[in-house]
Amino acid sequence: MAPLLEIRKLTHIYSQGTPFEHVALKDVDFVAEKGEFIGIIGHTGSGKSTFVQHLNALLKPTSGTVLLDGEAVFSSPQRIRQVRSRVGLVFQYPEYQLFEETVRADIAYGPKNMKLDKEEIEQRVLEAADFVGLDPELLDKSPFDLSGGQKRRAAIAGVIAMRPDILVLDEPTAGLDPRGREEIIANIRRYHARVNGTVIYITHSMEDIARFASRLAVFCEGRIVMDGVPGEIFRHVEELERIGLTVPGITKVMALLRARGLPVPEGIYTIHQAMDALLGLKGGGENA
């Protein structure tokens, strides 16, 4: 069976043939299966945003193909329409895209475009609002009366309401405080667990993504330079720092301990893992 999403030799060149020509993606291969939670990391200009805009046919590859269920996303205008509702893209600072008179109408915009009937739309609006933890009482308010955090949730709900097979989020916690970040992350994780959908999550925050992604893809200069489980990726502390990414604080501390000769394993990135490794050290010492 074809993978849910398959990208083959994707290259994207902006302003090709002009003095501003810029190769944003070069020969990228990528596969995502149903149920995966994939973190995409990379510094500004590494190509990650260009990459995700190909996933729902917003950008056309200069060369290479994007296949959803084995079928090209650009095969026909109908196909493009279908792909746009199956791959839901939440942009950075999505609250700037709210525009309807009420929160309900804003969340309903996507499903309405899918030509669903009224009851179905209402049901999806309620379901999506619940997924993002938005109080139903807020649905009749103007989006502009909501707080920053609530606006962000409403905007994410608008994409979830299309029940996409793949939910793509570009920095969904940017600008939020630690509690706001935790809430949005908890909502997305709950959504992912309940619908067993695929989530692709772009972020600069290694600290956050390490805790919940099942897989990480690291972008650098238009290529995927690492792709694997977080424990594997965080073994490469020096390489990650060289390409302008910061490894989680705990990973750094453990790398320093290892450099001083303590036998702690590589690829540790949570406080919990560090505790286990350190307490294991003591336990091991007593047995010896």
């Binding site: 510094h43 500004t44 200009g45 707080s147 920053g148 955090g149 940017a174 600008g175 939020l176 405080d177 630690p178 509690r179 706001g180 600069h204 600290e207 302008g244 990414l245 910061t246 989680p248 604080g249 705990i250 750094k252 501390v253 320093l256 301990l257 001083r260 000769g261 303590l262 406080i271 560090a274 505790m275 350190l278 307490l279 050290l281 003591k282």
Partner: protein, 278 residues
Amino acid sequence: MNIIRTEKLDFEYDAESGRGLVLKELDLEIEEGSFVAILGHNGSGKSTLAKHMNAILLPTGGKVFVSGMDTSDEERLLEIRRTVGMVFQNPDNQIVANVVEDDVAFGPENIGIPTAEIRTRVDEALKAVGMYEYRNHAPHLLSGGQKQRVAIAGIIAMRPRCIVLDEPTAMLDPSGRREVLDTVHRLNRENGITVVLITHHMDECIDADRLIVMADGAIIADGSPREVFPQVELLRDTGMDVPATVGLAWELRKAGYDMPLDALSAEECAEALYRVFG
């Protein structure tokens, strides 16, 4: 000597809305030449406080003094704004010109600095933030960190004694954040400019001289980062967190190990761990 002082500062955005005070009887003094970080959750009042520091907002109760000048004294407004410059979160909203050096010249032009001197100031400011070689570039083609440094240069060119930065790194990636932080630390160290950094990134506060934590319009902790971060429960109760290094030490203490809570940097934490587990 203090450069900013608030006296029983009260503020509410709209008295009729019934939302209550955003800042409550806030007393604060900021020493000239210091690097002060202000940490707080969204809605804690930290940005509102920042906007009082150069008279963008005026108190609804109490007073704010900038270098001894009452911010509600309209005749001193220009002088107050020259003394304290503000840098905001979104670099795109702060850039007005099509060429980097024109953008930096905008502030000094507005306060009536003679042309010849503007030239000197713009060059100095761009060198101070490490953007001199980009002086003829178009700002929109720069990275976020570079744009933010140009915005800082625009403020420096007015030669303020204090810069207040309101979440200047919120929209930047890790290397952009590093660039901006290194720049403000250097301006503080080498040029003696007072820095007030508003943030909710714990790790940006580690190197500050002083860390102030705000919640619900009041100051709930105030001291050096080494004094403030060990107050793990207080910080977590107000929706903030502590650096991962402190979080690890906290868990190890709960498990009965004698770990200090003030080993903030990765190096200090590794050193303390080595002593316990090595």
